[in-house]
């Protein structure tokens, strides 16, 4: 496998905006002149289940799926989803984790427990981690909906794409109305790492 392929895995809960974040990332890579492949799950999994999106770019990319232990960056919009998909990350990879807990229904109905030691587990799982409050940051910027782009801003620090490619990608991916908010969300996220 070519060394120069970059793999990113973005995870979260259905409805958190993982798919938009992966679209922006794929666009930014494309604008930077790379071949890009992405994969995402539709259908059943989008009803509040765990959602995974994968993006790979480089001079030549075959598989759209990221192999275990090869991702340069893992971005998680929910804490335990970060743990669930931790093994995608390369040993020296960067984890960007939103400090948010979304309680699964299995916990609410008493069939499972939400771990109480999430922070120490995260530390054990990710030697290189940015732990941030993307939801709060997004809210302070005007809308909690932009948490995905705050996270993406932080994720971008683990990648080597030029900043104008990111901006162009955001402009191309979000509606006019939300453009400024998302550009700001991205820049803020970028400064958090």
């Amino acid at each position: 496998m070519s060394e120069s392929i970059r793999s990113v895995v973005l995870v979260g809960v259905g409805g958190q905006g993982i798919l938009l974040a992966s679209e922006v990332l794929a666009r930014a890579a494309m604008i930077s002149g790379y071949e890009v492949k992405t994969n995402e799950v539709h259908g059943m999994a989008q009803r509040g289940g765990s959602v995974v999106a994968q993006v790979r770019y480089g001079p030549r990319v075959y598989s759209p799926l990221v192999a275990r232990k090869t991702a340069q960056v893992l971005g998680a919009l929910e804490q335990i989803e970060a743990l669930r998909f931790a093994d995608y990350l390369a040993p020296d990879g960067l984890a960007v984790v939103n400090a948010q807990a979304i309680v699964p229904v299995t916990v609410s109905m008493g069939a499972a427990r939400y771990p109480q030691d999430v922070e120490s587990r995260l530390k054990a799982a990710f030697p290189r981690m940015a732990y941030l409050r993307a939801a709060e940051v997004a809210r302070s910027l005007g809308s909690i909906q932009a948490a995905n782009i705050v996270l993406l801003g932080a994720v971008s620090r683990g990648l080597d794409l030029p900043s104008d490619a990111w901006q162009e990608a955001i402009r191309a991916s979000v509606k006019e109305k939300f453009r400024d908010l998302n550009l700001k969300a991205f820049e803020t996220g970028r400064c958090l790492v």
Binding site: N39, G43, G49, P64, A67, R68, R84, P104, R113, P115
Partner: protein
């Protein structure tokens, strides 16, 4: 400039460039976006959601008979519904190019089974094309269209979840000029009554032989010579994984994969020392290559259940080379993570119906849609799911078998139009007594909210007549037809009680639009008064994602609450109320 497109979008692009003027289909993950995208190319391409895949297939076949190029789209199980026209269209032949775009779901991400559509190509004796990325999805659609028109055969373009829902770069071309339309009368060609049908059967085999030659020479099948020690025969998305797992190997990559290009397979086999077949799902290629007298390895190393991936193939490679595959121990930090299965959205109208059903001792035969989620705990109110429409007919079967409890069938609105109506006719005709509940959320929700015959809108957004489920029910001979508001649990429960008591068939239409599609709250936010809450956790039985258990007491997360008020009706302590507006 190239464009980043999903496989499905690329299939639509290919269809547009191929000069397709008619597209029909029924939504089904992972195929849905093909037609949604094609419809966006505007009035040059007529697109429709048909009530089911059989109808869609026949619409496209009719268009082709008139000379138009057409496609029909569906998921793998949809082709079972459309198998009837497929099997004979290959006899009567097509005029304008005709391609059935069928998306398989290895790994069963959103499906009830893992059937392999490639079997249908052999079964119906039609050519099969298998893209491995978006560029090929577009190119192969055009190639399939060309071959279809040249040999007057229907063709199948088979995608999979990972081809359909992966994005990669696609170059765009010009749109071909669509052929002239006008049916040329020729009954001995289009009417397969036995006297004409038997010669058709002959011609079908002759055509298959010609198609085999075509496949041998097709640019869609290619030899990639590498190290001659190992040759891998592969197709579809598996090719992409093989390139990463065996970068040094020689590869025969099949894109026009049926009829099998035997000459090419033999040439490849004679150029390498050992052969491994890497294919997802059934062992179709492997068995065929072996039938040519060529020794191959395959299924003993490559899993045939579930989808493949680079990770799984790394393990296959290890086993193939006599090494133990590296198995990762689950890390301590990932131990006992609570599962996060899909759930009905906050405010989903189905929740109230399942909760109400839970109050009655009935058997519930279910169906395919968001409401399949009602089978999970704690709602746990669905006893079976088979296929589209089976919720209706299986209820009747259970009842006729003498099931001691009363039987209720549930079916969605789109599913009702798809294949629920015939089951209803059966109940009325054969003196059944089942109660059928149509969960009418005014959309085809699970696949991403498509319109259907009951919504009053077409795929291209035009206004049309909205068919009434109640009127259809009455016309089918069901006399007891009533409509309930699923957000009113008492009303819904009383209606169910009344109908299961009545020894007569009945239809209950539970009507409320899907809030996820409407993108607005059903009502005001609810909150739990912690002073009054007794901690009985009854509200948790609703499996509403907005109600979270915090330190043994439920709380409503205002970010998620859709304000449907169902929890308020369930709470025996009266602790849940509408939040005062700030």
């Amino acid at each position: 400039m190239k464009h980043l497109m999903s496989g499905n979008e690329a299939i639509a692009r290919g269809a547009y460039e191929a000069g397709v003027t008619v597209g029909a289909g029924y939504p089904g993950t992972p195929s849905t976006e093909i037609l949604e995208r094609l419809a966006k190319y505007g009035p040059e391409v007529y697109c429709e959601w048909s009530p089911n895949e059989k109808v869609a297939f026949e619409v496209a076949a009719g268009a082709s008979l008139a000379g138009a190029r057409s496609i029909v789209t569906m998921k793998h199980v949809g082709l079972n519904v459309a198998a009837d026209p497929l099997m004979t269209l290959s006899y009567i032949t097509v005029e304008g190019g005709f391609v059935a775009c069928v998306a398989d779901d290895p790994g069963m991400h959103s499906s009830q089974n893992e059937q392999d559509t490639r079997n249908y190509a052999r079964f119906a004796k039609v050519p099969l094309f298998e893209p491995s990325d978006s560029q090929e999805a577009s190119d192969f659609l055009k190639l399939a269209m060309e071959i279809s028109e040249k040999y007057r055969t229907p063709a199948i373009l088979r995608s999979t979840t990972r081809v359909s829902h992966s994005r990669s770069l696609v170059g765009w071309g010009e749109r071909a000029v669509p052929p002239k339309v006008g049916l040329v009368k020729n009954p001995s060609r289009f009417v397969p009554i036995p006297v004409w049908g038997r010669p058709m059967r002959q011609r079908l085999e002759e055509r298959l032989a010609l198609l085999k030659k075509e496949a041998e020479a097709s640019p869609a099948n290619r030899l990639e010579w590498g190290d001659r020690k190992l040759g891998i025969i592969t197709a579809s998305i598996a090719y992409q994984y093989v390139r990463e797992v065996w970068p040094e190997a020689s590869i025969l990559k099949l894109g026009f994969s049926y009829p099998f290009p035997d000459g090419l397979i033999r040439e490849f086999a004679s150029g390498v020392e050992r052969i491994l077949v890497v294919e997802e799902l059934d062992s179709i290629l492997e068995e065929h290559v072996r039938s040519l007298g060529i020794p191959v390895a395959g299924r003993e190393f490559v899993p045939g259940i579930g989808e493949l991936s680079t990770d799984r193939l790394q393990a296959s490679r290890a086993r193939f080379e006599g090494r133990e595959p590296v198995m990762d121990e689950p890390m301590p930090y990932a131990r006992d993570l609570p599962p996060r299965p899909p759930v009905l959205c906050p405010g989903c109208p189905h929740r109230g119906v399942f909760y109400a059903l839970g109050k009655h001792d009935v058997v519930v035969t279910g169906d395919i849609g968001c409401y399949s989620l009602g089978a999970f705990k704690p709602l746990d109110r669905m006893d079976s799911i088979l296929c589209m429409g089976a919720g209706v007919s299986m209820a009747h079967g259970l009842e006729k078998a003498g099931e001691p409890r009363r039987v209720v069938g549930v079916v969605g609105d789109s599913t009702f139009f798809h294949s629920g109506i015939t089951g209803l006719v059966d109940i009325a005709y054969n003196r059944g007594q089942s109660t059928i509940i149509v969960l009418d959320n005014r959309t085809t929700a699970m696949t991403g909210h498509q319109d259907h015959p009951g919504t009053g809108k077409t795929l291209s957004g035009e206004k049309t007549r909205a068919l009434s489920i109640e009127e259809i029910g009455r016309a089918c001979g069901i006399e007891r037809v009533l409509t309930v508001d699923p957000y009113d649990i008492e009303e819904t429960s009383l209606a169910i009680a009344g109908e299961i008591e009545a020894r007569a068939p009945s239809l209950i239409v539970s009507r409320a639009p899907c809030p996820l599609r409407e993108r607005r709250r059903v009502g005001g936010l609810r909150q739990i008064n912690q002073e009054e809450c007794k901690g009985c956790k009854l509200c948790l039985k609703l499996a509403c994602p907005a109600i979270e258990l915090q330190d043994d007491f439920p709380e409503i997360n205002p970010l998620f609450c859709a304000g449907c008020g169902v929890c308020q009706q369930v709470c025996p302590a009266g602790a849940i109320s509408e939040e005062a507006r700030k």
